[in-house]
């Protein structure tokens, strides 16, 4: 049997088989089941078959006639071996066949069927072996030629150097680099062949390392300035004391690397410096990158956020609802979502969040990108606007109420006053009545009718308790008058609170306004409070003096009441200090007391309308918020410094220039 792929045999014989000669195909059957034989009958068919696929053997039968030898000739050296089947007894044809290039001849008699198989087998094996050898040689030649082809064609400049650093041979790329021909370079020292930078220390080191048989590091050589060219230089030993020098131009790569580096640095600068906080998260919500603004807003130390879960900045119960969660889980995008983060120092920060999923080119989710801002300032402004709106609507209400109360109060007060006057007059009549009674009592000779009338008068006076009535009527009237006075004040407070200024401001002496107000209150305070005044010289301030006095009155009364409160429990002496001075383009008026102080928990509410810590009926709660409004109308500010039982200092600041509306402090 033949090993390897199936054996293909081509048989060329006449169509009609000679009954005297056994069929060749049958004989070939002895080659085994792997042998395939094909039969053709003429030269054309033969050519066709041969061109279709390779054959291992061709058997030509002399029975074909004259064509037989012609076919043998035609097949000479062109492919598979030819075995000639002689049909004549003499060997003329056989010899001729050999001459024409047949590999073997056999006589086609009956018992030669066996021989045919053997001969066929031998020829096939020889043919196959020859073919393999040819194949191998071809490959070897190709391999031998390949390196040279590569060396000639590659863009890397290659040169073989001997131990003296002389060029033995160089490829065309090297010749181009050196600006000389390959011929010229042979035998030239490397130092003179290439530009100066190539004779530098780096290259020498690479060459020496190669000499030692080490894998030296490649070195980078730069030639020229603008534009500069960069080369990667390496060396390798190639035996027999020779070195291979490889020079690749990497200018473009170097340039790209520089650009890339610059671009990356630029992007980093952008991200580092942007005003918004930027975070990149992995799919589990851990921080992979945080820019400095993010660290600042969240109160984290530089570089400390990486690896931390973003959720650790939010209270436990809010973590599920965080929009970031939805971005991480479902790739949802959000703009303008709000949340409150808790910094490590405990401070709560309101933040406005935008987040989007982070995906790579294939659409794989890498996590999320979160941009956020600190909303503290905005929230504060919102609160202020809300406060102002509240005050405005309360103001309108107050104005309406005041209007309605004013008129009735006008005549109630006037009438009460009048009745008091009437009472006074009636009191004089009463005195006369008393005198009359006395006169009758001491006249023993008064007529009886007169005496009787006087007696009835006495009884009546007794019955209605007239003297008490007269007395108490006066008291009732006086108390009512006081009540109506109080209402008047409340109405004034309300009106001042809601007042829309139409009149103009006037230049005033603030010290005088403060002093006159203090003097009014002094009569009330003089027994329990020591008042100190420290007035600095102040320029005149354009203002509404009435409104300022109301503010001062309010602050003084508050101070007095705070002192009362403390003195009642601790005893001691009450002190109020008034201080005025110039500051920051305006005047500052301080009213300090050593009273019961203001608890820090209520400090930011004391300017709210209707907020009061005083008992019912004592304070209306309108004083400080009204004062706050009035001071604000002047473009100034009202502030307080205080603590529980540590007294309080209220400071009114008014600008000298009314176009400036902010206290720079």
């Amino acid at each position: 049997m033949v090993s390897g792929p199936a054996v293909r045999v081509l048989v060329v014989e006449p169509r009609e088989s000679d009954p005297r000669h056994p069929g060749t195909a049958a004989a070939l059957a002895r080659l085994g089941p792997e042998a395939r034989s094909e039969t053709v009958h003429d030269a054309a068919a033969l050519r066709a078959s041969l061109s279709r696929q390779p054959h291992d053997l061709v058997v030509v039968d002399q029975a074909l006639g004259e064509d037989a030898l012609r076919i043998v000739e035609a097949l000479r050296d062109t492919g598979p071996p030819v075995v000639f089947v002689c049909r004549e007894s003499d060997d003329t044809a056989a010899l001729e066949a050999f001459r024409r290039g047949a590999a073997d001849c056999i006589t086609g008699s009956a018992h030669d069927g066996q021989v045919l198989a053997v001969v066929a087998l031998e020829q096939i094996q020889r043919w196959r072996a020859a073919r393999e050898r040819g194949e191998t040689q071809r490959r070897l030649r190709w391999l031998e030629q390949l390196p040279e082809a590569v060396v000639e064609a590659i863009p890397t400049a290659l040169a073989v150097l001997d131990a003296q650093r002389t060029i033995v041979t160089a490829n065309p790329a090297f010749a181009r680099l050196a600006g000389a021909s390959q011929q010229e370079l042979r035998g030239k020292p490397l130092a003179t062949a290439l530009p100066a930078p190539f004779a530098g220390a780096g290259v020498e080191r690479a060459l020496r390392a190669a000499e030692r048989g080490e894998r030296g590091r490649p070195c980078l050589v730069r030639v020229g300035d603008v534009p500069a060219c960069a080369y990667d230089v390496r060396a390798a030993p190639i035996g027999e004391g020779r070195l291979l020098l490889l020079v690749s131009e990497v200018t473009e790569i170097e340039d790209l690397l520089q650009q890339f580096g610059a671009l990356r640095r630029y992007h980093e600068h952008v991200i580092q410096n942007m005003n918004s906080a930027l975070l990149a998260l992995d799919p589990e919500g851990r921080v992979t990158y945080a820019n400095p603004t993010a660290e600042a807003v969240l109160g984290a130390e530089a570089g400390s956020m990486e690896g931390q879960s973003i959720f650790s900045w939010f209270p436990e119960r809010e973590r599920q609802d965080l929009v970031v969660r939805r971005t991480l889980d479902a790739g949802a995008r959000f703009r303008g979502a709000e949340a409150v983060a808790v910094r490590p120092d405990g401070r709560r920060v309101p933040i406005g969040i935008s987040c989007a999923p982070l995906v790579d080119e294939r659409g794989e989710r890498l996590g999320a990108v979160v941009i956020f801002q600190d909303l503290s300032e905005i929230k504060q402004l919102q609160r202020q606007v809300l406060q102002t709106e509240k005050l405005a609507s309360i103001g309108q209400l107050a104005a309406g109420v005041a209007h309605e109360i004013n008129n009735p109060m006008g005549f109630i007060h006037a009438n009460l006053y009048q009745v008091c006057e009437y009472l006074g007059d009636l009191g004089r009549v009463w005195e006369r009545i008393e005198a009359l009674r006395k006169a009758v009592a001491v006249s023993p000779r008064a007529p009886s009718r007169l005496r009787a009338a006087a007696a009835e008068l006495d009884v009546m006076i007794e019955e209605v308790d007239a003297s008490y009535l007269l007395d108490d009527m006066g008291k009732a009237l006086r108390e009512s008058l006081e009540g109506s006075e109080r209402i008047r004040h409340i109405v004034q407070d309300l009106r001042a609170f809601s007042h829309q200024d139409t009149a103009e401001r006037t230049l005033s002496d603030v010290n005088k306004a403060l002093d006159s107000t203090a003097n009014i209150v002094w009569t009330m305070m003089k027994h329990s409070v020591v008042l100190t005044k420290q007035y600095e010289e102040l320029p005149p301030v354009r203002c509404y003096p009435m409104q300022l006095k109301q503010v001062f009155m309010n602050l003084l009364v508050n101070a007095y009441q705070a002192i009362e409160e403390r003195v009642a429990s601790d005893g001691g002496r009450g002190e109020i200090r008034l201080r005025t001075h110039c500051r920051d383009g305006g005047v500052a008026i301080e009213v300090s007391d050593n009273g019961s102080g203001i608890d820090p928990s209520v400090q930011d509410r004391i300017f709210d309308p209707f907020f009061t810590t005083k008992e019912v009926g004592v304070g209306t709660g309108l004083g400080l918020s009204t004062s706050y409004q009035l001071v604000k109308r002047h473009g100034g500010s009202l502030r307080v410094r205080s603590g529980r039982n540590r007294g309080a200092t209220f400071e009114v600041w008014l600008p000298l220039d009314e176009t400036k509306s902010e206290d720079p402090a």
Partner: protein
């Protein structure tokens, strides 16, 4: 026989204020007249002599200033006083132009009101009598 006393006309749309004013000024030496609206006031002024008019500012219909403007036009010798709960809302310029001498705030102080009226009447000669 016509009254030789000075006549002061009070104008206010609140009748109880008028009666309280009347009560307060009972003992004064001038005749107290009242009108509940600017229209009635003007009608009264057309009928008889008035030396001084004291008017409320905020009334139904016309304001005190509007009335006083009319008074200046028709009866320029009548004195003019404005009685109002909102003194700050009256522009000083307008007061001066109308020759309104005084602004009395509401609620008023009886003594102060009496003083103002007395001062005004003594300063201005009585208006010519007619009718």
């Amino acid at each position: 026989m016509s009254d030789a006393r000075a006549a002061v006309l009070f104008v206010d749309d609140e009748p109880r204020i008028l009666s309280a004013l009347r009560r307060s000024l009972r003992r004064e030496h001038y005749e107290v007249l009242t009108a509940e609206s600017p229209a009635r006031a003007l009608a009264l002024l057309a009928q008889r002599r008035v030396d001084l008019i004291v008017s409320d500012q905020k009334m139904r219909g016309a304001s005190g200033l509007d009335l006083l403007q009319e008074v200046v036009r028709r009866h320029p010798s009548v004195g003019r006083i404005l009685l109002t709960g909102w003194p700050e809302e009256i522009p000083a310029e307008q007061l001066r132009k109308l020759g309104v001498r005084v602004l009395v705030p509401k609620p008023w102080d009886d003594a102060a009101l009496k003083e103002v009226i007395r001062a005004h009447l003594s300063a201005v000669p009585p208006a010519p009598r007619h009718g």
